[in-house]
Each structure stands twice: as C-alpha cells, then as structure tokens.
C-alpha cells in the first residue's frame, strides 16, 4: 500500500476520534479530497523539478503516535535557547508535552491548536483565520486534513510580547517510522510585536517525516519575526509550508537556518494585502554528506508601495544538493514596489550540486525589482591574505565562509539566538573561528 493510500484510509480512523460535527471537519474533509486528487508532488511539477520525494515516501510511516512520551529536560536542553526566559510549546512525537512547555493565556494566547480548534472561546479567530492563507496543493491539503495539533498564538492589539516564543517538536523513535503533521496558526493583531523560534528535532535514527503547515497573519503595523532552525539528523526529513499574510504597514521576517536533515523543503509564501508592507526572507544553508535543502519562496506583491527583501546564502559540501527557487510576482496594481532577491552559493566539493531558479513575474511598470544569483568559490586572494597573517587554511576558510553568511545573521534580533547560530555555523564549518562565543 502506498503512503498516499495509507494516509487516505487512515483519515477514516482519524475521524473516529475528532468531533465530526464542526466546521473544521468540513475543511478537513474537503482537504483530504484535494489530497486524494493531487497526491504528492513529483519531479514533473515545475516547483519540484529539482527535488524528488521518492526516497522519503517509501517508508511505512505510522501516522498516529500512540502515547505521550516523556523525555528528561536535561537530555534536550541543548535544543532550546535556554539562556533566556521564553514561552515554550513542546511536542513529543506530535503530542503536547505539558511538563516541558510554558504556555500562557494572560494578555495573549500561547497555547495549543487542539484547544483552539475545540474551545468556543477561540471560535471566531479560527473562523477568521484558519486555513485562510494556506495553499490548496497536495502537501498542504494533507496537513489540513489531519490538522489537530500544533501551536496557536494569538497576540491581541497593541501588545509587545515580552519574551520570545519557542515551538519545538521532538521525535523519540518509539515508532519505527513516524510521520508528523503539525499545524501552527499565528495571529498578530494591530501594532503588536512577537518573536518566534521554531525547531524540529529527531532524537533517534528512525526515519521521521514532518509535513508542517504554519499560517502567519500580521495585521496592521504588526511586527513578526520568525526564526526556523533546521539542524536535524540524517534520517529526518522536513517539508515546511509557511504562509504569511500581511496587512498594511506590517513587517514580517522569516529567517531559515538549514544545517541538516536528509531532505528539507521550505515552501515560504508571502501575500501582501495592503500598502507599505515590508517582507523579509533570509536564509543560511550549510550542508554536507548526502543532504538536500530546497528553498522555494514566493512573494506576491498585490498592493502599491511595498517592499520585499530576499537573501539566501548556501554552502554545499560532499554530495549535498541545494535548490533555490524564488519567485516574485508583482501585480498590475502594485506600483512603486521594491523587490530584491539575492541568492549566493559556494560549492565546496566536486560532488555537490546547486540548482537555482530566481524568477520575476512583473505586471506593473513603476517598480524596482532585481534579482542576483551567484555560484562561486572563496576569494583566493582573501584566503591568501589571511594565510599570510598566520591563520591556518582551515580556519581562514571558516572565517571567510562565516563572513559570507554573516549578512543574514546580522538581522537576527535576539542576541542569544544569534550567538547560538554563530556557534552552530562554527560547528558546521568544523572550525573554531575564535569569536567569543
């Protein structure tokens, strides 16, 4: 039985333990039909030309985790930004772990999707926002059909959230192969400000496939900073679908740090529904071995006077493959748009591959849009300069690569997170770059 068939048939089992009389259930039923129709994307789809899911779809994934698993905090402390106080929403094998989490309902809601979907108090927010911006493609529909658990964050008007929120998913390997489908909804009302850090982490060598959907709504003048850390082991794959809808004068940034995982696909889509919006999409990818990271971005400029900034850096070693597929669409009405896109890559080994496809689709005339893309090596003269000053080759290379990715790092607004990522980069490059970490 193929994974698709298995998923479709397990939807009936899923229906047994959710309330089938709600509106949400109509959405789920419609979504499973869409998935049945479209299935998993193949290389024949233009957006998946360079990424094949075959290798990760062959496992016999269990779709429903059986029980709540407990992990000791000390074992997983390293995966948190633990040196600052944060709200935490932690999931173990797809189940909420209350003893590791720290949620709140005071002044804002940082809680669970399952609660938001069932409790009447959240009904209005769910009706207004749930599944409103997510694309109706196969993978997102699959997630919608099984949407039950995940993070729900609702920041009311005029509120600056005092500490960052961490969303962390662990998989323990109690199942031989596990498929997770977390669903997050983040609604930030007018003039509010929130910072969120998301991470997926597998704790064993058993294969894990995560098909995650996150919907983010930034209302008028809201500021949303979202950070994704992807540093998983070689058996964990992640398909991350993030959809951001912005209203006028809002600012939303998504930083994606991809340092590992068997296959990572980031679908990041921005829709600008208002004027004077600023969207930022940045990413650093440093991978090796047989890893595969694919960034697929879309910025849809719908109204005038908006900006978007995309900056993706990639360093690829061993047999790694990198894909960047960025698309900027500027509608006819979206005059005075400024859209920038840049994608820089370094191939370290002879067997690494990079495929990049930065696209512009422009229907308005009074715009400034540009994209740049480079594939190259480290500057030999810069390397020589460092070596001539007594810095060994390996460290010199590390320093230069760190500098290469620093552009993206510099816009991270949480100092502790920045430090953590700096450390990760140093670790990834295999050098002590001598900064005070």
């Amino acid at each position: 039985m193929s994974l698709k068939e298995k998923l479709v048939s397990s939807f009936m089992a899923f229906e047994d333990h959710v309330d089938v009389d709600t509106k949400i259930h109509d959405i789920r039923t419609e979504a499973i039909k869409l998935f049945e129709d479209k299935g998993f994307p193949t290389k024949k789809d233009e957006a998946w030309k360079y990424t094949s899911l075959n290798s990760i779809l062959k496992h016999d994934y269990s779709v429903f985790p059986k029980q709540e698993n407990a992990i000791e905090y000390s074992d997983i402390k390293q995966y948190f930004i633990h040196d600052i106080d944060t709200y935490k929403i932690v999931f173990i094998d797809g189940k909420y772990s209350s003893h590791l989490s720290q949620t709140t309902h005071e002044g804002l809601d940082v809680c669970l999707m399952s609660a938001a979907l069932t409790k009447p108090k959240y009904q209005l927010v769910i009706e207004n926002y749930f599944n409103k911006v997510a694309e109706k493609d196969g993978l997102s529909s699959l997630n919608t059909a099984f949407s039950q658990e995940g993070a729900f964050i609702h920041v009311p008007k005029n509120k600056v959230v005092n500490k960052p929120i961490q969303i962390v998913h662990f998989s323990t390997g109690n199942e031989s192969a596990l498929m997770l489908q977390p669903r997050n909804l983040i609604v930030v009302d007018e003039n509010s400000h929130v910072q969120i850090i998301e991470r997926h982490q597998s704790l064993t060598d058993n294969p894990v496939l995560t098909n995650s959907v996150t919907e983010i709504f930034a209302n008028k003048r809201a500021i949303v900073d979202y950070y994704k850390i992807q540093n998983d082991n070689l058996n964990a794959s992640l398909i991350d679908n993030t959809f951001v809808e912005q209203k006028q004068e809002s600012f939303a940034s998504v930083h994606t740090f991809s340092f590992g995982g068997k296959l990572t696909r980031n679908n990041l889509n921005y829709y600008q529904n208002g004027e004077r919006i600023d969207s930022t999409l940045k990413g650093v990818t440093i991978i090796g071995e047989k890893q595969h990271v694919d960034h697929n971005t879309l910025v849809h400029h719908i109204e005038p006077n908006c900006e978007s900034h995309q900056d993706y850096k990639g360093i690829f070693d061993d047999n790694a493959t990198g894909v960047f597929n960025g698309k900027v669409v500027v509608e006819k009405e979206a005059q005075k748009t400024n859209a920038f896109q840049s994608n820089n890559n370094i191939l370290v080994s002879d067997k690494a591959t990079i495929n990049t496809k930065p696209q512009l689709e422009i229907f308005a005339d009074d715009v400034k849009c540009s994209h740049g893309c480079t594939i190259g090596q480290l500057d030999e003269s810069a390397l020589f300069y460092l070596k001539s000053r007594g810095i060994p080759e390996k460290e010199a290379r590390g320093l230069l690569m760190f500098a290469f990715s620093n552009n993206v790092l510099s816009s991270v607004k949480i100092p502790e997170l920045k430090q953590r990522i700096t450390k990760l980069i140093a670790l990834k490059l295999g050098v002590n770059i001598g900064f005070d970490l």
Binding site: E46, K332, Q335, N345, L347, V348, S349, D350, K351, A352, T353, I354, N355, T356, K357, P358, Q359, L360, E361, I362, F363, A364, D365, D366, V367, K368, C369, S370, H371, G372, C373, T374, I375, G376, Q377
Partner: protein, 482 residues
C-alpha cells in the same frame, strides 16, 4: 507648441499599423494542405533529393507524429492546425538569375519596400545575399568571391545535391531530429534554407546574409540553416525577416544548426520582424525556432538577436560548449507591443574545461504584451573553471504589460563561477526630467534612454545590420516608449 506627451506616443503606437504589411502577388507553386508521408516524399522529390535524405525526413516525420506540442512556455495562443497548412510553396519563376535585372520586378519591389534592395545591399560593404522568398532561394550574389576562397554558401537543397557528404556529416548533429516537437516537424518538411561551409583557416571576407519572408497565404515556412566553420575559420552570418500582414496565424518553425570546429568562430545575428498582429492582437506569425550551436576546442559562437515581431515567439538560441576553452555568447533585445508574447532566452551548456559564456538580454514590453526571459546555465561535473555571466534587464512601458524572468542555473562543479543579475524597471521620471532640463524634449529623451538601455546588444550587431535593427526598433517602439 502643444507638448508631445508619453500618452500621445503610446496612442500613436497603438494605432500604428504594420508598415511593411503588403503582399506580393507572385504565382506560387503550392502543395495541397495537410501533412502525411506522401507530402513528405513529395517535398523530397520536388527538391530532387537523394534517397538518404528522403529516409531522414520520413524518420523525423514518424517521430513527430508521436510527439505532443510542448506547453511549458509562458505564452498563450491558439494551437496551429498542422493539417491545415500547405507545406510547400515556391515562387513560379524558377530559373536562377545571373544579374538583378532578370529578377521578377515585383519581387525586387518587395525588397525595396523593406528598404533592403539588392542593389543597395550589393553596393553596401560587400554583403552576399541568399534571398529566400517563400522557401526557395531565388537570388544569390557574390557567389564568385566566396567560391575563390572555397567558401560554400548556397541553399540547403542545393547543398544536399552538390555536397551530400558535408550535409550528411553535419545535419542533425546539433539539433537531432527528435530534439523537440517543432524540430522534428522541421526535419520532416523543411523546404529550404541556407547552407554555409567555411574551409579550414579561412576568414570569410564578408558578412553572409539571408532574408526570409513568409509570402504565400497559409504557408508555413520551415527553414533549415546549417553553418559549418571548419578549424580556425571565421564567419559572420546575418539573418533578417519581415512578413506581410495576414489575418490567420502563420507558423514559422525553423531550425538553425551551427558547428564551430576547433579554433573556429561563428557570429550569428538575427533581426526578426515578422508580422506581430494588429493592435487588437489579431493575426501575426507564430515563431517557434530551434537554434543551437556546438563549440569544439577553443571555438566561439556568438548569437545576437533583435526580436521585434511575431505574435508568439518561442526561441532559445543555445550553445553547447563541448570543447575546452570554448566561448558562448548571447546578446538579445526583445521588444513586444500590443498583444505580442515572447518567451525567449538561451541555454549555455558547459561541458568542456575553462568554458565561458555571457548572456545579455534586454526585454522591452509595451501595450498588453508579455515578455519572458527563460534561460539555462548548466555546468557539468567535469567542466572545470567554467565561467558564466548573465544579465537580464527588463523595461516596462505602461501597466498592462508584463515582464518575466525564469533563469535556471544548475552547477555541478565547485570551480564554476556563475553570476546572474536581473532588473526590472521603467524609465524614471527623474531621467526624463534630467534630459528635459537640458533642452531635450520628452520624445527624444525616451529614445535616448531606450537606445542606451539596448546599446550593449546593438553594439554587437554588424554595422550593416545595426542600421536596420535601429529602424525596426523605431517602428516597434517609437510611441510606445514612455
């Protein structure tokens, strides 16, 4: 004095009819419409082709029957009905002429209207012309001069008869019969085209050029061009076209193959001005062309194109950089207006070591047109030190048109150095203001800016051609700019 504003310009352009839309009444020898094996055979017989060529065509036809029309391009059009096209049409007055006086005066008149009269061309800087009217070459000039150098420049059907070994050796090596839907169709039914062979070490003393025209109603034109530059030789080849105004869509599916052997250099320039359809988007030529060049060691191929016509253009002149140290270049200006759609670009396939490629593409869209750049830069695993620089700039005029960029970059070698840059903008008010301030009126200022925008490509055209290219740019752009 009333001011000539951008709006006036735009208005003028919208209403401007295709100036070169006329139809020369030459009695033609036309085949019945439709396509089947018999038609393919008949074309072959008509061209007095040897057996192997007939087989080659039939093989291509068999493949074509099993292929489906591609749909990936960013263009929308009504698909041509391949059974409603006549696949062969030749002007009736067949005898070859030794001098211009003998050429059908009506035909000469056609060329005069286009401003490319043969005598003028003859006088101008030694351009030899292989004039193609509806698929059959009717006049060839300067053949003698070329013959002295050992250069073969003739129609492809003549080449098949006279130089079968050369043709057999190279035809279909760069664009295989089965390459794509339109290449297969062309391989089966091509009626004529040009063949050019430059022997070892010879530098062709003049620019070779052909003019293509679609003349007979309902005639698809299937050109086949084969240019072979032997070791250490050099040739510059010009191709240009205009077509009469028609209401039904005409299909143009040409194949151009360039082969540059070791140390050779080929420069291929095109000025394309097929009928783009009128202001309502009615009529116009479909231009689905396969152009590809193969570079051996130290060879260089350079494509330069100015695209102003066609209702639908679909064209990717490509370079396969097979030999070490080979160089590929692509310079393009694509102008679209009214309802024109263009999906054009290039492919640079780096296979050899130290290969270099440069892509400069300038897209200008006005009216309700859609202009896309689609390009591929591919670095194979053993292509050490490959280098690519791409620049795609788009200029938008008016808010009903679109400019799109679809670059594909695939690198499999760590020593590759690839840069890609694209910008989209309109003519800035500040730029216009700057010119106005210095006493240059708006219309001139716009012309100046557009000229500057496309300069990098215009500069690459041979002198004789640059004049005509600018003329065509004027026709398609004057008025639309701004």
């Amino acid at each position: 004095m009333s001011k000539y504003t951008e709006d006036d310009l735009r208005e003028e352009l919208k209403t401007k009819e295709y100036e070169y839309g006329f139809y020369t009444d030459i009695e033609s020898d036309t085949f019945p419409v439709g396509l089947n094996e018999d038609i393919v055979r008949a074309i072959s017989v008509k061209k007095e082709e040897p057996e192997w060529m007939t087989e080659w065509r039939l093989d291509a036809f068999k493949t074509w029957k099993e292929m489906v029309e591609p749909e990936w391009a960013n263009v929308h059009y009504e698909k041509p009905d391949f059974q409603a096209i006549s696949y062969y049409s030749a002007p009736n007055n067949k005898p070859k002429y030794d001098s211009l006086d003998e050429v059908d005066p009506e035909l000469l008149d056609t060329f005069n209207k286009l401003g490319i009269s043969l005598d003028e061309q003859k006088k101008l800087a030694g351009v030899a012309m292989d004039v193609v009217v509806d698929s059959v070459s009717v006049a060839t000039t300067f053949k003698k001069t070329l013959a002295e150098k050992g250069i073969i420049f003739c129609s492809i059907s003549e080449a098949i008869r006279e130089y079968p070994d050369l043709v057999k050796k190279y035809i279909g090596t760069v664009v295989p019969k089965k390459d794509n839907f339109y290449a297969a169709l062309n391989s089966a039914v091509f009626s004529d085209g040009s063949f050019c062979y430059i022997p070892k070490g010879v530098k062709c003393p003049m620019e070779l050029s052909t003019y293509f025209r679609i003349n007979q109603a309902g005639t698809g034109q299937f050109e086949r061009t084969l240019v072979v530059a032997d070791q250490g030789s050099y040739v510059s080849y010009l191709e240009g076209c205009t077509a009469p105004s028609r209401d039904e869509n005409q299909l143009h599916a040409a194949v151009v193959e360039l082969i540059a052997l070791d140390d050779a250099e080929i420069k291929y320039s095109t000025v394309q001005n097929w009928f783009p359809g009128n202001a309502e988007g009615k009529g116009g030529v479909y231009n689905f062309v396969t152009k590809r060049g193969l570079c051996e060691k130290n060879a260089k191929i350079s494509w330069t194109q100015v695209e102003t016509g066609s209702a639908v253009t679909w064209k990717y002149p490509s370079c396969v950089l097979k030999g070490d140290n080979s160089v590929g270049e692509f310079y393009s200006i694509a102008v679209t207006n009214n309802f024109q759609q263009a999906d054009t670009g290039t492919k640079m396939i780096h296979l050899g070591k130290n290969t270099k490629s440069t892509i400069i593409s300038k897209g200008i869209s006005a009216g309700k047109s859609q202009n896309s750049y689609r390009g591929l830069v591919q670095i194979a695993g053993r292509a050490e030190n490959a280098r690519n620089f791409s620049q795609c700039d788009s200029l938008l005029m008016g808010n009903e048109c679109g400019a799109h960029t679809f670059p594909y970059i695939e690198a499999k070698n760590k020593s590759a150095q690839i840069e890609h840059e694209a910008t989209t903008s309109k003519i800035g008010e500040d730029q216009i203001f700057y010119c106005n301030q210095r006493g240059i009126d708006t219309e001139k200022a716009i012309a100046l800016i557009v000229n500057g925008f496309s300069k990098e490509v215009l500069n690459k055209l041979p002198m004789e051609f640059a004049v005509e290219a600018q003329k065509l740019l004027e026709i398609s752009l004057e008025g639309s700019v701004g």
